[in-house]
Amino acid sequence: MGMGIEVRNRMASRAAKEIKAGMVVNLGIGIPSLVPNFLAPETEVLFHAENGVLGMGPSPSNGEEDAMLCNAGGFPVTVIPGASYFDSATAFAMIRGGYLDMTILGGLEVSEKGDLANWVIPGKRIPGIGGGMELAEKAKKVIVLMSHVNKHGEPKILQECTLPLTARGCVDLIITDMAVIEVSEKGLLLKEVMEPFTEKDVREMTGAKLLVREGGKK
């Protein structure tokens, strides 16, 4: 969505803080794929890929890529000791079976109830659903990393999504270039405002009511 690499990195870095040791995490394509770069080296995390890998490690060096080893986005990866390979049915059995602690996905729209729309790009051909529905519906925690507004400058966080939904009420946390927003039972909770924006900027660019937790950052 035209965000610079610094902004994208800041979002990824913020998302990385949500990852706790021992978690099993699936990363979507795009900004989510930058998240591992910001994990503390001692953080023991298992990265899962829909095509059938558990225990992905850092990206390989140039020339060290293996044509037979990639993530679900088709990018070359490595594996850590303790990794395993399996078929795609098993990869999704893990997802639907509730074995994924977290997924970090991109988003087109998120509603104040945590509905997510991230698969039909308006005005474009329908690309299909891929594995997004299963991840969004079944991962224990769903974090959406997206630009706060669309390319027309319109809010992507709305009272109701206008695009076809990927899944209802699935989103737990939204991290944008402007803010960190939690989807709580009471509604959207503004947890952090990113520089150089102000709370007022965020409210203006958000299409839903934002609560502020007492004692929380404004």
């Binding site: 021992g22 994990l39 000791p81 395993s84």
Partner: protein, 232 residues
Amino acid sequence: MEAKMEMQSKVTTLENALSFINDGCVLMFGGFGGVGNPPTLIKGILQKGTKSLTLIGNDAGFPEIGIGKIVSAERVSKLITTHIGSNPIAGKLMVEGKMEVEFCPQGILAERIRAGGAGLGGVLSDIGIGSMIEVGKQKVEMGGKTYLIEPALYADVAIVHAKKADYFGNLIYDKSARNTNPLVATAGKITIVEAEEIVAPGMLDPESIITPGIYVDMIVESEGVDWKWAWE
């Protein structure tokens, strides 16, 4: 980078593992005709005195072998299985009304367990239409055929026997002692593995791991198998 690659060990004591297996729980077990039942965990359950179990697994073992010991000791209030022919005590308890038994075709039981672990509601089966197997089950018509809806099975605790585990819980099995173990390993809220050998992550070939460690919560070292004389 090395530190990042260290995984937290799931190896624990038998006593700790048994603390998760309590009266009235739904206990799923791996194994087929005694072979592949986890003997050390079964011995522990017997010694602990756990009772009123709902047991789910392939068969009732033999009276003095494998899971059969738990059945024989009258610790089971309900058994969901495929046959009890090898354990006459199971039949006696069923007839006396001391143990409820629900039968399922063998491959369908395996699929129901797999469906539980795979987050599916169940599978559509054409096995046993018109027999006692269909009692209490929904039917659907599809493409001119009738299918039974065979619902997924879940367990509070799944107990599994493996040849080798790394301490993250990646598992390999041993020949036909694999049988239902990889399926059962996926379907427990808590999955406890009894392994003949425990190694460090990276020691098992990632291509040959049958059960990825994600499914495993606890690993106990086996005191060795006791089923050899099943056929002696």
